[in-house]
């Protein structure tokens, strides 16, 4: 009988919260599309570091000049287009391109005669970082060109051995992080809002002073938020697999880790909402902190490549472990030295911690009302 009552409370709280959520459709819609939103933002971020749009003025079209052009295009630094000198100057001044490389008219002759020659480089030197990239790219093209044309004079070459059979493109790699950030923000916002709403609308005393179990109330609220959060995750998962093209290596892991992530952030959101008691503050806090937290957690590379301070901070939050697990589920990668069960265990520990703290916070609030 007691158990039946317990489940009835959970069910009633779940239905009540789902109904409340459905009244705020604009907010609900935003929470559902949020993961895709983050994915698009990360794509924009990835594009920010892409190759420099550069014009090449081919003063000479001989075989050496063509070979030098090929060396430029293989430098992993440029997005090239061939133009006339006038077009290049106008594109550079309009901010359409970053640099102009000019291959002189006597390039082939000078190279064939083993005589010195000079390649022109005009750079829109807005920032040191990007200007250095362009300089490095042209320098690299000169060396690789010389190594091809005069292998006996330039015998030093790089010989690469890759650990993985293929490189994962940057956007598919980052999309996994976007999937998690979406689950995180959606879960925190839905659950946090549901908890804070009770305070804002002064319905919390009725809930806490009712004879229902606090655990059942908390679970009911969390389940409602988890349903919405999982719906958002499904959208995001479809986007990542069908649009970005990230096909998971282990489907079972993807589903299990996504459900775990959803539960984890819903529990954390309920705790945050109970503590902050204001939806507006909660929304801004969650939206404001989520992206930096992700950047801290190793979305670009293993956190062990970062400084010790960043590593320390990353290990304090569950996001890092979730990233590791999802990258394993999608690509079979290991981004930290812990095994999959060890990462999983840490996350379950976080979940237990958030659940316990939420129930404790509710009890503390109830005692406050009682006094």
């Amino acid at each position: 009988m007691m158990i039946l009552h317990f489940f009835r409370v959970i069910w009633a709280c779940l239905i009540k919260d789902l109904k409340s959520m459905l009244t705020e459709r604009a907010f609900l819609f935003q929470c559902i599309i949020l993961p895709i939103n983050y994915n698009l933002l990360l794509i924009l971020f990835a594009l920010a570091g892409s190759n420099a749009p550069t014009a090449v003025v081919m003063g000479d079209t001989g075989p050496y000049a063509q070979q030098f052009y090929q060396a430029l295009s293989s430098a992993h630094s440029f997005h090239l287009q061939q133009t006339t000198a006038t077009e290049a100057a106008s594109l550079l001044h309009a901010g359409e391109i970053v640099a102009v490389v000019t291959i002189p008219a006597d390039f082939d002759t000078q190279v064939a005669l083993d005589q010195p020659t000079s390649v022109g480089l005009k750079v829109n030197n807005l920032t040191t970082d990007l200007t250095d990239d362009v300089r490095r790219g042209v320098r690299l093209a000169v060396t690789s060109f010389a190594a091809q044309v005069f292998p006996d004079q330039v015998p030093i070459v790089a010989e690469e051995h890759d650990q993985h059979p293929m490189d994962i493109d940057y956007i598919p790699f980052l999309s996994i992080a976007a999937l998690i950030i979406g689950v995180m923000v959606g879960g925190l916002l839905q659950a946090g809002t549901a908890a804070a709403r009770e305070w804002e609308q002064h319905t919390i005393p009725e809930l806490l002073l009712s004879p229902a179990s606090h655990t059942a109330i908390a679970l009911g609220k969390m389940l409602a938020a988890a349903i919405i959060s999982l719906a958002a995750s499904l959208f995001s998962l479809a986007f990542v697999t069908l649009v970005i093209g990230d096909w998971p290596s282990f489907w079972g892991e993807v589903i299990a880790f996504t459900i775990l992530a959803s539960c984890l952030f819903v529990a954390a959101g309920t705790l945050l909402g109970t503590m902050l008691r204001r939806r507006q503050t909660l929304t801004i806090l969650v939206r404001g902190c989520s992206v930096p937290l992700f950047f801290l957690s190793g979305i670009f590379a293993p956190i062990s490549f970062s400084t010790s301070g960043v590593q320390f901070l990353a290990r304090l939050f569950p996001i890092h472990y979730l990233l590791v697990l999802e990258q394993h589920a999608f690509f079979g990668l290991s981004l930290n030295t812990l095994s999959v069960p060890e990462n999983l265990l840490i996350l379950v520990g976080f979940l237990a911690l958030f659940l316990t703290l939420t129930v404790l916070a509710m009890r503390r609030n109830m005692m406050g009302f009682a006094h």
Binding site: R136, F145, D169, I284, N336
Partner: protein, 366 residues
């Protein structure tokens, strides 16, 4: 006219007082852009120098010079270790790659035989691997550039368009200021408007014997004053810290740009607030809106480096013009395309205030 202006001012004062009283809203509105400042610095560090182990199996002078060139390339955080330690670091994910200069390297180079530098790469993603693919050949270039006679008979004749380069972190300060202004204005004006509906004080406003135009303009003025004030504080702070240093009449350009951006964002905030009429939805949408406008204006990068399609999209984002005008005035003492930038900002501000006006009038009429 005097009475009209008084009502505008009273309405603005009311909104400003509420804004000042809710300090947590100000803090929360500032939190998000400030965290993006953190993102820029962390992002730069994260995608910057990767840790790499260097194993020097040949102690000859050429091997030493190439190793020094790898250090000088400043693309890696290099640790000079033996092969066993390198593999230990690699297996523990403490380095992204092992670069080995093999034994007999000097001899091969001297004889003109192929002398490979072996790179064992943890090619987790293309960005990380491309960094390695660029950096090792670049170190080879640096080495050859130092050798006499230089076997590379091709020199690079570089000309820069501007008198100075700006550090990428410093360059990113301006988009951050733009984001701060936008996020703050959207949130404060949006909430100030939506709250009138949520608290049902809109009825009192509507039934009062004052012009609706004065009510709307009062809200625009409050949003503008608070945002412009914030912009001035940020800009002064940047000036004192040496991050932003516009000189002469370029300071005027910068201030005018901040004013127009504040006006545009306040108008947009009122439009969003009166369309949604719920504080919660406004807060959430305002954050999304400002982040989108920030990213689409090339916020985390440099617009010139973005792909063409993104440049076309950015052309419709007023923040692109505000950020460009501020960067030109602040870093390059330049008024490059200032007329275009200010005209777009002024036009967008008028458009947004008009849009806010219409949405709020429609709301009031209901």
């Amino acid at each position: 006219m005097k009475a009209f202006c008084r009502i505008v001012w009273i309405n603005a004062q009311k909104d400003l007082r509420i804004w000042l009283r809710q300090w947590y809203n100000i803090a929360a509105a500032l939190l998000m852009p400030l965290t993006y400042v953190l993102v820029v610095w962390l992002g730069a560090a994260a995608v910057g120098e990767s840790p790499v182990a260097l194993v020097l199996e040949d102690q000859g002078p050429i091997a030493q010079q190439v190793a020094q060139s790898l250090q000088d390339a400043q693309v890696f955080r290099l640790s000079l270790v033996n092969a066993a330690t390198a593999h230990h670091l690699y297996n523990n994910l403490e380095v992204a790659a092992i670069v080995t200069i093999p034994a007999a390297f000097d001899e091969q180079v001297t004889l003109g035989m192929r002398a490979p530098i072996v790179v064992q790469a943890n090619n987790l993603n293309l960005d990380l691997t491309n960094d390695l693919r660029r950096a090792v050949p670049d170190a080879i270039s640096v080495y050859y550039a130092k050798t006499v006679p230089n076997p590379l008979d091709i020199s690079i004749n570089e000309q820069n368009l501007r008198s100075q380069d700006i550090d990428v972190e410093q360059f990113a300060i301006i988009p951050m200021i733009s984001l701060l202004l936008l996020a703050h204005a959207l949130i404060s004006s949006g909430i100030a408007t939506a709250r009138e509906w949520e608290d049902q004080s809109i009825k009192e406003l509507l039934l009062s014997p004052v012009s609706r135009a004065a009510i709307i303009l009062g809200k625009v003025l409050a949003g503008f004053l608070s945002t412009f004030g914030l912009g001035l504080v940020l800009f002064t702070l940047g000036y004192v810290l040496g991050w932003t240093h516009p000189e002469g009449w370029y300071l005027g350009n910068a201030l005018l740009t901040i004013a127009l951006m504040s006006l545009f964002a306040s108008g947009l905030g009122i439009a969003v607030g009166s369309a949604l009429r719920r504080v919660q939805s406004v807060t959430s949408l305002a954050t999304t809106f400002s982040v989108w406008l920030f990213f689409l204006s090339g916020g985390l990068g440099v617009m010139q480096f973005e792909p063409d399609w993104l440049k076309h999209v950015a052309a419709f984002d007023p923040l692109t013009y505000g950020t460009h005008a501020l960067q030109m005035a602040t870093f390059y003492a330049s008024a490059d395309q200032i007329t275009r930038d200010l005209a777009v900002l002024a036009g967008s501000a008028v458009l947004m205030i008009g849009f806010g006006w219409l949405t709020m009038r429609r709301g009031l009429a209901r």
